[in-house]
């Protein structure tokens, strides 16, 4: 009787394992097929957001990714992921932790070292609460800021009610981009 019950448990376990294996195989296949395409879509989304961050840039094709500049910028600000260049200025793709997960912004900085525009690349902030700090109206307030500005919440920039953490993340990211820009000019 005991023997039988043990066999039964093994049978259940094996069945579950077989189902799991088949499912894993199917998922692995799908992942392999879609992986490249997803990476490409992510790159395109990033480039499009980057193009939005610098007024005057019409399409992502006008931007060039600068790898050596990225390396130099990361020495100053490790949050910098990528740097795009264009005659109108540079775009720093910066990623830090927001409230809901990683928050990635593209910060456009002109040759004069001033913030020209900010665009959201990826955000998981709570819609309607944290996301308020990412609305164009709020991001515009950073335009014209320079590396010498402190960008401290409560001093020269204001947090949005309910979105303190997101506001802080935005301020820190813009500051990181400005610092990276200052040291690599």
């Amino acid at each position: 009787m005991k023997r039988l019950r043990e066999n039964e448990t093994v049978r259940l376990g094996v069945t579950l394992m077989v189902v799991g294996l088949v499912a894993a195989l199917g998922l692995g296949l799908t992942y392999t097929v879609t992986r490249k395409k997803i990476a490409e879509q992510d790159r395109m989304a990033e480039a499009e957001a980057a193009a939005d961050a610098l007024p005057g840039v019409e399409s992502p094709s006008e931007l060039k990714e600068d790898k050596s500049l990225t390396t130099a910028a990361r020495k100053q600000s490790p949050a910098v992921q990528k740097v795009f260049t264009n005659p109108l200025g540079r775009i720093y793709v910066v990623r830090t932790k927001g409230y809901g997960g990683p928050l990635t912004l593209a910060v456009g900085i002109g040759p004069d070292g001033e913030v020209k525009g900010i665009a959201v690349v990826e955000s998981r902030e709570t819609v309607g609460v944290g996301s308020k700090a990412l609305e164009p109206g709020n991001l515009e307030k950073y335009e014209g800021k320079k590396a010498k500005d402190e960008l401290a919440i409560g001093k020269d920039v204001q947090a949005i009610t309910g979105a303190t953490i997101t506001s802080k993340a935005v301020a820190a990211q813009v500051k990181a981009a400005l610092e990276a820009d200052r040291t690599t000019r």
Binding site: R11, L12, T15, L16, V19, G20, A23, G26, L27, T30, Y31, T34, K37, I38, Q41, M44, A45
Partner: protein, 206 residues
């Protein structure tokens, strides 16, 4: 002949008599959330229907091998696998739709319609009937999503936009945006339910 009629019955019952949303009242959460635009309804509806049909077919075809005690974990593994497949494919080929639907695509896993059909139908019926059941339930689901999306988008934004093309425009009028917000979902759904119940009462009186 008998086989055919019951096949048609399994397919068509999802439209009205056993409509998953309006009669069985399962899977409402995602419906209320994404039905603010017609286009969302199309994508979520198709994604859920794909998962529903595939999981119904697989579950009914292996139902002889599934031990009764662990059927629910097996259903969930199968459903979750199909949802992940949809999730990855949508991310790769329809990034715009994926961006607006966001978390609702992975959440198809916990959409009660799918588990309810697996447990309540596919586990006890043939592959062919389960396929038809999935297709019919999916059609009923898409239908309600489209009707709700149409009403809410038209009243809430004043126009219907499908795939970047304006299909219908109400012209100059200030639309009450409550319809595309959450209260609008409840209002619209309540009105649709009332209409359906009135229709059913009339039918039973006849």
């Amino acid at each position: 002949m008998d086989e055919n009629t019951s096949g048609w019955h399994e397919f068509s019952k999802g439209f009205i008599i056993e409509n998953p949303l309006m009669v069985l009242m399962v899977g409402l959460c995602a419906t209320l959330a994404v039905s603010n635009r017609m286009e969302n309804g199309i994508f979520l509806g198709l994604a859920a229907t794909f998962v529903l049909v595939c999981s119904n077919v697989i579950i009914s075809s292996i139902r002889g091998f599934i031990p009764d005690q662990i059927r629910i974990p097996i259903f969930i593994v199968i459903i979750a696998s199909f949802v992940t497949i949809v999730d990855l494919s949508m991310k790769a080929y329809f990034p715009a739709a994926y961006a607006t639907l966001g978390v609702w695509i992975p959440l198809i896993v916990v959409n009660c319609i799918i588990l309810a059909r697996a447990e309540g139908f596919a586990y006890k019926n043939t592959v062919w009937h389960s396929f038809l059941d999935g297709l019919g339930m999916g059609a009923g689901y898409i239908g309600v999503l489209l009707i709700m999306g149409f009403i809410r988008e038209l009243l809430g934004t004043g126009k219907i936009v499908l795939f970047d093309k304006t299909i219908i425009s109400l012209g100059p009028f200030n639309p009450p945006s409550i319809f595309i917000l959450f209260p609008g979902a409840f209002l619209t759904f309540g009105c649709l339910l009332a209409l359906l119940n009135r229709y059913k009462m009339r039918k039973s009186n006849e």
